[in-house]
């Protein structure tokens, strides 16, 4: 028998208990490495000074007061969507239908604005507050309905929720496309344009004299609320138990189906709220791309934050910062839009990849020449 006395070059060992400090150190190293790689790539591709690129990224996100506010507003919307998905994820219900739930909520708000606004025959009008209440209620309900359907299918027939929530996205997109044609202004443009431009009916109010603040304030409220709900409420506890083990949940008499449906109503409803903000407060119009893939980005944000609402603020900031910074690079250095995606991709790769090094340790071969064959 061959006597192969050589240890493998390395073997992977699971870390048991990583201190918080160590974990954050690893993450920090990952971010630094990611920026380094992006910088090198930028220099190779564009001959520009990488430091200049980094500064440009920062200025893209926080360069002026207005840029900062827009960044914060984007952060708020993405944060709300991420928080909306979080209870479902904690329940191990893979809701990747955030996009559709946001869109349908936005569509409901737009419908209220359209149907109860300038289109009404002369002489007939609703008070503005009433329109807004209708918008809030209908968009949350619409989002909740979009969450309810896959949840009910799952509870009743145990259908795969990843597929059904994904499919619901396409239904929402097509519905929005249909109503855009129906309400398009001017005819044939394929766009709705700004709704109620003259009367501003259904335009959600500004807070503290700024049109950006409403989303930001709501995001803060939702973050705190979601943290309390998940950590201290009975519902939150049920969600955690159902997510960890349905059998345990049944064993202690929890109604698993009820918990699934209730949680998805919440998840969808909050997405609907994000849709309301996008239409009623930010854009005052609706397009099929108004959510801009944030329903999917939120999946990543929520995961990166390990479903902790407060950590989610930072992961959202990271993603939004990257997005805005990268697009600034593209415009400033006259690179095409794909370049910003490449940079974002590199940074995310490092951040997600570093989780491996938090959970595992690599042991390299220690003893070599001093081994004696016996």
């Amino acid at each position: 028998m061959a006597n192969r006395v050589s240890e493998p070059l390395f073997h992977i060992v699971k870390r048991d208990n990583v201190s918080r400090k160590k974990a954050w150190c690893i993450r920090l190293i990952a971010i630094v490495l990611a920026i380094l790689v992006s910088a090198i790539l930028t220099t190779i591709l564009t001959d520009d000074n990488p430091f200049q690129v980094c500064i440009t990224m920062a200025s893209g996100a926080f360069g002026t007061m207005r840029k900062t506010m827009v960044t914060l507003q984007n952060l708020a919307i993405l944060l709300i969507i991420s928080l909306a998905l979080t209870p479902a994820f904690k329940m191990r219900f893979w809701n990747i239908g955030g996009e559709g739930q946001v869109l349908i909520g936005g569509l409901a708000a737009a419908a209220c604005m359209e149907l109860m606004g300038d289109r009404l025959p002369a002489g007939l009008s609703f008070p503005n507050w009433f329109v807004m209440v209708c918008m809030v209620v209908s968009s949350i309900l619409a989002g909740a309905l979009w969450g309810f359907i896959p949840a009910a299918l799952k509870a009743k027939w145990n259908t795969n929720e990843t597929l059904s929530t994904l499919m619901m996205n396409y239904i929402a997109i097509q519905l929005v496309a249909y109503f855009i044609i129906k309400w398009e202004v001017p005819k044939g443009s394929g766009k709705i344009g700004i709704i109620n431009q003259s009367t501003n009916i259904g335009w959600l109010p500004q807070l503290f004299g700024s049109r950006y603040m409403l989303s930001i304030v709501l995001a803060i409220i939702v973050t705190i609320g979601m943290y309390i709900y998940l950590t201290y409420s009975k519902h939150g506890y049920e969600i955690a138990v159902v997510g960890e083990s349905e059998r345990t949940a049944r064993y202690v008499g929890m109604k698993v189906k009820k918990v699934i449906i209730r949680t998805m109503l919440l998840s969808g409803g909050l997405c609907g709220l994000a849709g309301l903000l996008l239409v009623g407060s930010i854009n005052h119009t609706i397009t099929t791309t108004i959510s801009n893939g944030q329903g999917f980005t939120a999946v990543m944000v929520s995961w990166l934050a390990k479903f902790n609402p407060f950590t989610m603020i930072f992961t959202t900031l990271l993603i939004v910062f990257l997005g805005r910074g990268a697009s600034e690079i593209s415009t400033k250095f006259e690179l095409n839009q794909s370049f910003s995606d490449i940079v974002t991709g590199i940074i995310l790769f490092f951040i997600i990849g570093c989780e491996f090094f938090i959970n595992y340790k690599i042991n390299f071969r220690k003893r070599k020449e001093d081994d004696v064959n016996v």
Binding site: D16, T248, D371, N373
Partner: protein
């Protein structure tokens, strides 16, 4: 490096417990030197030196978490040691994968079988072997091995048609087919009836005669005594010593494992004022895929009594307990709960919440502790809350009470844990079970259902659990105790109900019953009288 050389040149340091004289004649098949393995901060094996000789059966003993399985996994290539050396037949080797282990003639039969259900025995045995697929030749070779050692295997039979014992036989043949001279069995008898166990032991004895080195990991002392030549003891990852089996006894081995003296008697107090608590009549349960799991089962369970349930695993024990606990729907029959004033209430068709709301305090220690009784990723306090989180009308949970309960359980049952905010999956098997049992008896139950309460637990933890169950019995709780170790069932139960294929094979008195009779009842309804 000097250390390694020292071991190599001078061999195994004389050990405090070992009997050098009788071992001298034997040839070491495996020598492990200074083998160390850590998982994170946990040291699973700490500088272990172990010799395994040809032509002997070595029983590897130790409490849960003492590192027996880890040590053997390093021998069979599943884990790689952090430090130390392994010599096979005197040559130092590196075992980096199960394949390496096989080529060195090491084969391990794991606690959980690793067979493909839809393939036949022969197909499973040759699975993954290089060379041309020649089922005929393989079958011939399998038959040869079977004849040599006295196995009964039908090479054509599909795995899904096999009993647990047959599957185990296939696993052993698989290992032998690959030419293993060093055979490791991890708790092989946990799932076998006494008759099947005896058959397995006969086979193992034949292999010993054939010069093979055999290691068996087990918690059952009487098996160690009847089968092994030598025992080696691990405690908290470290090697304590070895002894010849004929020179020792169960008490000494247990004390060595635990590190202090332990009493090995299960008490059986006489039931005080028993009256009917649970009456099951004609209970028939079918699984989702239409298989009859329980067939017309009827029995009574009395307060202050322990009703043991014996049977080969998968004979309806799980369904029976889950039906009583409100987790299993039945096709026919009734389960009534008799309260102290004689009122009867039907439990069948109600879910656990409803049963709780009816005022029936029913505690259930299920077989699958971390998958059903507890949530592995949650800490002790949160797991305590599983039973109590609904209390109060507030929408928020009360964390104070469960925290208090967790601290109380930790203190009273000596749970080894860094604290009550440690996830339970980090605890060892015995401690997990203490947490679960502690929570279940905290609600002062009228009925206590336990399924395999000591499965996988070491002897010390097992006796703690027996004590706890007996305490409940003394408090007048009706205990239904599903067990797999007949010796224990015979020691602890007042009555024993034997299940066979979902039917009641008989109910016998625990004080007078005979082990062989129960063994027969487990395989044929009614035992000898109705048997062939």
């Amino acid at each position: 490096m000097v250390k390694y050389l020292g071991n190599v040149l001078f061999g195994h340091f004389p050990n405090f417990f070992s009997e050098e004289t009788s071992l001298e004649a034997k040839v070491a098949a495996v020598q492990m030197r200074n083998v160390t393995k850590t998982f994170g901060s946990v040291i699973a094996n700490d500088k272990v030196d172990l010799d395994i000789y040809k032509g002997e059966i070595l029983a590897l003993l130790g409490e849960n978490g003492s590192g027996k399985t880890t040590l053997m996994n390093m021998l069979s290539g599943i884990y790689f040691p952090d430090d130390g050396q392994i010599f096979i037949n005197g040559k130092e080797v590196v075992i980096a994968s199960p394949k390496d282990a096989f080529s060195l003639g090491i084969g391990m039969v794991h606690q959980h079988f690793k067979l493909v259900d839809v393939l036949s025995a022969a197909e499973n045995i040759i699975l993954g072997l290089p060379g041309k697929l020649d089922l005929k030749a393989a079958t011939m070779k399998i038959m040869e091995i079977c004849q040599k050692y006295g196995f009964e295997v039908d090479p054509e039979q599909k795995i899904y048609n096999m009993s647990v014992s047959q599957k185990q036989t296939v696993e052993i043949v698989k290992v032998l087919y690959r030419g293993a001279d060093i055979l490791i069995l991890d708790e092989p008898t946990a799932v076998l009836t006494p008759q099947e166990t005896e058959k397995l032991f006969n086979v193992l004895r034949k292999m010993r005669e054939d010069g093979k080195a055999i290691v068996i990991i087990t918690h059952k002392m009487h098996e160690v005594e009847s089968l092994s030549d030598r025992v080696a003891v691990l405690r908290r990852g470290a090697y304590v010593g070895d002894m010849m089996t004929k020179d020792t006894n169960a008490q000494e081995m247990t004390d060595m494992m635990v590190g202090r003296s332990v009493s090995l008697n299960i008490e059986r107090p006489d039931p005080v004022d028993p009256h009917k608590r649970i009456a099951v009549r004609g209970l028939t349960v079918r699984s989702l895929d239409g298989i009859l799991k329980l067939d017309d089962v009827s029995f009574d369970a009395y307060s202050g009594e322990i009703l043991g349930i014996a049977g080969i695993s998968g004979c309806g024990q799980k369904e029976l307990l889950e039906a009583i606990a409100g987790l299993q729907q039945a096709e026919a029959g009734s389960i009534s709960y008799v309260s102290d004033d004689g009122r009867k209430e039907e439990l069948l068709g109600k879910d656990p919440l409803k049963i709780q709301e009816m005022g029936v305090t029913l505690s259930f220690v299920p077989e699958d502790r971390l998958g059903m009784g507890l949530v592995g990723n949650m800490d002790l306090a949160d797991n305590m809350m599983l039973r109590s989180f609904r209390k109060g009308s507030s929408m928020f949970t009360d964390r104070k009470a469960p925290e208090k309960l967790a601290s109380k359980v930790v203190e009273e049952l000596d749970v080894v844990t860094p604290g009550i905010s440690t996830p339970v999956r980090r605890l060892s098997g015995g401690n997990v079970q203490k947490v679960l049992v502690g929570r279940e008896i905290a609600s002062a139950p009228k009925v206590l259902l336990t399924a395999y309460a000591v499965r996988g637990l070491d002897i010390n933890s097992s006796y703690t659990i027996y004590d706890l169950i007996n305490q409940q019995k003394k408090k007048g709780v009706a205990v239904i105790f599903v067990g797999e170790d007949l010796d224990v069932l015979l020691e602890i139960s007042d009555k024993i109900l034997v299940l066979c294929g979902g039917r009641v094979s008989g109910i016998v008195d625990g004080r007078t019953a005979d082990k062989n009779q129960i063994g027969l009842m487990m395989t044929t309804v009614g035992g000898e009288e109705n048997g062939k």
